[in-house]
Each structure stands twice: as structure tokens, then as C-alpha cells.
């Protein structure tokens, strides 16, 4: 069953046609990845889903409801959380305060407390640093905080934008392990990545985006084996 269904999506930045007729389906319970080079439109796709960008044409349907024209704060309440590129953590807040604002759209105190406990178990590093200001965290810890904060919104669909950006390989492994665990616990994930190798190993299904168009899509293991993807994104001749 498709949780998110995107059809003929067009997005413009002024005269620049950033997304051209994107069609994309995210099945419930899966990890779907969107890979592609810099400037292909990966982040724009996520920003359009979460309402930060308005599409010029096309349909976005989440769980039977159209997202077009809905403001971001309503989309969060429908069950879509976005961990934006560059992490977007609140640097002058403590880790605990960042987590608190992640649950801003929720009012079930007991559920929030349980989810807070769950993410702190997933990310023990954050528990150690709860009262520290987020600015003092390392890049990897900041990424963990951005993911933890998005999970606290209890999304049905989690949008992750470049979680591996600028992180040491070992930290990347940890982050992707946790992404799998979050998915195993029942959250559907749409993952945007430049690190195609990690993304395709983690995801169930993949889309390849090139200058605003989907050029390929297939189950992730098939994409990983395909010659074009190997040449263009996996650095294999």
C-alpha cells in the first residue's frame, strides 16, 4: 500500500525548473531512497513534501489526503516529519530542549515521554549530553539529534535529508544502523542521500534523480547492480 504518492510534480525556483514531472511512490513500512548528484532536486523534493516549498503543478497524496497547498505545521500534524539538510538543530537550545520542540505538535504526555526514552536508548550519546547546548555537539551527534528530534514527532513518514553529510565513516555506519532500527519499529522512511552505496544497502526501493527528472527506479538491490548506477554513483568503472 502506498503511503505517499507523488504524480507529475513540478517545482520552480523563479525561472529555474527544479523538478520536472516527478513521479514517486513510497510504500508503507519501507525505506525508500532518492539518490542523485548535487543539484538534482533531492532536497527540493523533500521540502515540497513537507510544505516548505509550493509545487507549481502535480499531486502529492499522503495516506489518502492531498498535501498540495497545506502549510508545514499542518503537514507535521498529518504525520510527516522532516529532518532538514544541514540538520537545522537549534544551536542555542540544550539537547533536551531540542527534543522537546520535536514533540511540539503532540499533546500526549505519556506517549512523548515513552518516545523520548526510546530515542535516548537509540542514541545513548544524546542521553549523556541532555543538558548541554546543542552547539557544543560534534557533527555526528548533531545529526543524531536531528533524527531523534524528528522521531519525537511520531511520524508515519520520516524524511531524512543527507544524514551522512560530513560525517566520519564509522559514524555513518551507526547512523544507518539506527535508521534501519527506526524503520523496523514501524516508521516509513524517505531517505535522500549522496552516499549512494550506503543508501542502496539500507533501502528497499530506490529512485535516481538527474537534473530534476527521475531517470531510473527499481528495488534497491537491483539498482545497486545496474551498470549505470555503478558507473555514475558508486564509482565503479
Amino acid at each position: 500500500m502506498a503511503l505517499l504518492e507523488i504524480r507529475d510534480l513540478d517545482v520552480h525556483y523563479g525561472a529555474i525548473h527544479a523538478l520536472q514531472g516527478i513521479a514517486l511512490t513510497v510504500a508503507a513500512g519501507q525505506i525508500v531512497t532518492l539518490i542523485g548528484a548535487n543539484g538534482a532536486g533531492k532536497s527540493t523534493t523533500l521540502r515540497t513534501i513537507s510544505g516548505l516549498r509550493r509545487p507549481t503543478a502535480g499531486t502529492l497524496v499522503f495516506d489518502g489526503q492531498s498535501l498540495v497547498g497545506k502549510p508545514p505545521h499542518e503537514i507535521v500534524r498529518l504525520g510527516i516529519a522532516h529532518a532538514p539538510e544541514g540538520r537545522g538543530i537549534f544551536a542555542n537550545f540544550t539537547v533536551a530542549e531540542n527534543l522537546e520542540i520535536g514533540a511540539y505538535a503532540r499533546h500526549d504526555k505519556a506517549g512523548i515521554a515513552a518516545d523520548r526514552e526510546r530515542v535516548l536508548t537509540l542514541f545513548p550519546r544524546l542521553r549523556e549530553r541532555l543538558q548541554q547546548s546543542a552547539a557544543t555537539l560534534s557533527g555526528g551527534e548533531q545529526q543524531m539529534l536531528a533524527i531523534a528530534r524528528a522521531v519525537l514527532a511520531r511520524p508515519r513518514l520520516l524524511l531524512l535529508d543527507e544524514p551522512s553529510l560530513g560525517l566520519a565513516p564509522q559514524v555513518v555506519q551507526t547512523i544507518f544502523q539506527i535508521i534501519r532500527e527506526i524503520n523496523a519499529a514501524g516508521t516509513t522512511i524517505l531517505l535522500v542521500e549522496q552516499n549512494a552505496h550506503m543508501a542502496l544497502q539500507t533501502a528497499h526501493y530506490g529512485y535516481v534523480l538527474e537534473v530534476g527528472r527521475i531517470v531510473m527506479h527499481a528495488p534497491a538491490n537491483e539498482l545497486e547492480r545496474s551498470d549505470e548506477v555503478r558507473r555514475a554513483y558508486l564509482g565503479v568503472a
Binding site: H73, R77, A83, G88, N92, F93, Y104, A105, Q131, R149
Partner: protein
């Protein structure tokens, strides 16, 4: 959950303490300190309300409003008109009709009861002034707060000027009791003195009332900052896009902060009009708005205690420097006398401050944060 009498008492305790301090200022400090010190203390109180209320917008939500004096003006005129014309309607004149709390020692006359009808009129006028400013804040904020960046600054600057011109083109004020009685209430609302300003406002703004309202303002802003609401305000300042992605309705919250801020600015305007006995829009232009912005920046963006301290310092400093200039000039030949040295020193002090501590006195923190941090350091 511990709801009930205990919680209620704990929440009201700061206000009780504030009113007690206001009473001490009013009954003990004021008679002993003389008219000049009293005037400075009243100015400090009003400036604290202005600075703390602007902190709600410029500090908490990180928007840049430069029309605070405009809201002060709206509140001041509305409150002044309510007290002045209301007093005429109720008592047939515009003298003080308050009790001891509205009566300044040394003014002559006899002390009446603790509270009288005039006090109620004054408090209602202040609240109406605040409400009028809040409505103005809503009208200005709703369209302009949808935009990001400098637009709000431009719109609020324009608003301040529009308010000034509007009040300066009102009808002449009425002074004769007979004329006032014969006019309809709505007509009186347009007779606000024009370019001459609105005068003969009764002097209700004693130290007690000013500091009671200071306590109310500080308590309200402090509670807002501590609440989940406050955190959402601050998240807008930190990163507006991320805040939106968290489900924070940024426009709505910005408008709310702006309306609250305008309310307190209107309140400050009301107290101001009743402290000098008049209000003139010509004197509340963008210069006044900038005075308040300087307090907020100097105190630290978003720090309630910082803006409070900055308001106190920046109100006292020119007065201290005034006396200092007079002393220096005594030793200089008349042709070399320094006419306005104090403003030069004042400006230099601000420049030095911004170089030495660009984040303001307390930066993003409150004074009590530092104690907490010190304790944490001792602990580890």
C-alpha cells in the same frame, strides 16, 4: 499533578512580591528621595516595560520591529483620553480622584482612602490603552509577519510615522467642562489635541502603579519564556525553517508575540502620559523606538533580565552624565563650555559596549542562568 491552592499561590507569589516592592517604593522611598529621583525611578519603570516588551519580538522571535514608540503612542493617547474625558464625565473635572496609591507625597492635599474611584478609572484606562495598542499590533503584524527579514522593519517604521501623523492631525482638545459634557463620547475620541499634543492628563502614574505594572510585565514575559510557547518563540529566532518543520505555526506565533509586545508598549505609553501629564506624538517618533532597541540589544537579545538591567542603566546614565557635565563646565571658560557632552559620552559608552560585548550584557541568557552554570561547574 499538583494543581490547586498551592500551585496558584506559587504562581502568584512573584506578583505579590512585586506589589510589595512597589508599595515600599511608594510609601518609603518616594517621600525620602525627592521629586527628581522619583521622576528618574518612574522613567526607569516605564523604560523597563518598553524594553522587556520589545524583547518579546526582537529578542524571542528574532523579528526586527522598529515601531515600538508607535504602539506606546497609541496606548498613551487612548489611556490619556479615557482618564481625562472620563474624569470630566464622572467628576466634572480632570483632577486626581484617586486614593493614597495615586497620590505623590509633597504634592499637597490630603491623603484619602487607599483606593478610590479615580484609581479604577486609571487602571481601566491603562488596560484600554494596552488593548488598543494590541489591536494596532494585530493589524500591523498580521500582513507583515508573513514576510521574512527586513520587511517587518520597514512596515513598523512606516507604522510609527503614520501613528504620529494621525495623532497630530486630530481635533483640538476640549478644556471647558460644559463643552465636554455636551459632546458625544465618540466625538471626544477624535479631539486629541492635534499638533499640540494631549495635555492636562491627571498625574496618576505614581511609583506604586508604575512598579505594579512592571511586576506584571516581568511576570508575564518570564512565564511565557518558561512555557512551551516560549520555546516555540525562541525556535523561530534560532531557525525559522526548522521551526516550521517541527510543526510550529511560525506566522501565528509571531503575530501573538507581536500583539503581546504591543499590549505592554501601550501600557508603558499609558503610564508615560500619566507621569508627565501629557502626551505628544511628535516626541514619540522613531528616535524613541531606537532608544528601546538599544536597550534590548545592549541587554542581550532575548534576555528579560538583560533588557531590564540595560533599561535601568540607560535611563540613569544620561542623568548622571548631565550632572558630570555641569561639574566639568564649572572649570572651563564659558566659550569652551561643553554643551552636550553627555550625549557624546553616552554614544561612546554604547560603541565600547558593542565592541567589548557584542552579544549584549547577558547574551541569550538570564541572570539566573549564570548561577546555575556556576553550580554545575562546582559539581563536576
Amino acid at each position: 499533578m499538583r494543581l490547586g491552592v498551592g500551585t496558584l499561590l506559587r504562581n502568584l507569589a512573584p506578583l505579590v512580591v512585586g506589589v510589595a516592592l512597589a508599595s515600599i517604593l511608594h510609601f518609603w522611598i518616594q517621600p525620602a528621595s525627592g521629586a527628581f529621583a522619583t521622576k528618574v525611578l518612574v522613567d526607569i519603570g516605564i523604560n523597563v516595560i518598553l524594553a522587556v516588551s520589545l524583547t518579546l519580538v526582537n529578542g524571542f522571535t528574532g523579528q526586527f520591529s522598529i515601531g515600538h514608540a508607535g504602539f506606546m503612542c497609541v496606548g498613551g493617547y487612548v489611556a490619556a483620553a479615557v482618564t481625562y474625558y472620563g474624569s470630566h464625565r464622572l467628576y466634572g473635572d480632570a483632577f486626581l480622584h484617586g486614593g493614597v496609591l495615586s497620590w505623590t507625597a509633597g504634592q499637597g492635599g490630603v491623603a484619602g482612602p487607599l483606593l478610590a474611584g479615580g484609581d479604577l478609572l486609571f487602571v481601566v484606562a491603562c488596560l484600554l490603552g494596552g488593548l488598543a495598542a494590541a489591536v494596532a499590533g494585530y493589524v500591523v503584524g498580521l500582513p507583515s509577519l508573513r514576510l521574512r527579514g527586513d520587511y517587518l522593519a520597514i512596515v513598523t517604521l512606516g507604522f510609527g510615522e503614520i501613528v504620529r501623523v494621525l495623532f497630530q492631525s486630530t481635533q483640538p482638545q476640549l478644556f471647558l467642562a460644559g463643552e465636554i459634557q455636551s459632546q458625544s463620547t465618540w466625538r471626544l475620541g477624535t479631539m486629541l489635541g492635534g499638533a499640540l499634543g494631549f495635555t492636562s492628563v491627571p498625574f496618576y502614574s505614581t511609583l506604586f502603579w508604575v512598579y505594579a505594572f512592571v511586576a506584571l510585565t516581568l511576570l508575564a514575559t518570564y512565564r511565557i519564556k518558561q512555557s512551551g510557547y516560549g520555546r516555540a518563540f525562541l525556535s523561530i529566532r534560532e531557525d525559522e525553517v526548522a521551526a516550521e518543520a517541527m510543526g510550529v505555526h511560525t506566522t501565528r506565533l509571531k503575530v501573538r508575540a507581536f500583539v503581546l509586545s504591543s499590549f505592554f508598549a501601550g501600557l508603558a505609553g499609558a503610564l508615560f502620559a500619566h507621569s508627565i501629564g501629557s502626551i505628544n506624538a511628535g516626541e514619540l517618533g522613531f528616535q524613541k523606538s531606537f532608544d528601546v532597541i538599544i536597550m534590548v540589544v545592549l541587554g542581550g537579545m532575548g534576555s528579560i533580565s538583560g533588557s531590564t538591567l540595560a533599561a535601568i542603566i540607560l535611563t540613569i546614565l544620561p542623568e548622571v552624565l548631565r550632572t558630570a557635565t555641569e561639574h566639568v563646565n564649572r572649570y572651563l571658560p564659558e566659550s569652551y563650555a561643553l554643551p552636550d557632552l553627555r550625549m557624546i559620552i553616552y554614544s561612546l559608552a554604547l560603541i565600547v559596549m558593542m565592541i567589548v560585548r557584542p552579544q549584549g550584557l547577558f547574551g541569550l541568557h538570564e541572570i539566573w542562568d549564570f548561577r546555575k552554570k556556576a553550580r554545575r561547574h562546582e559539581g563536576t
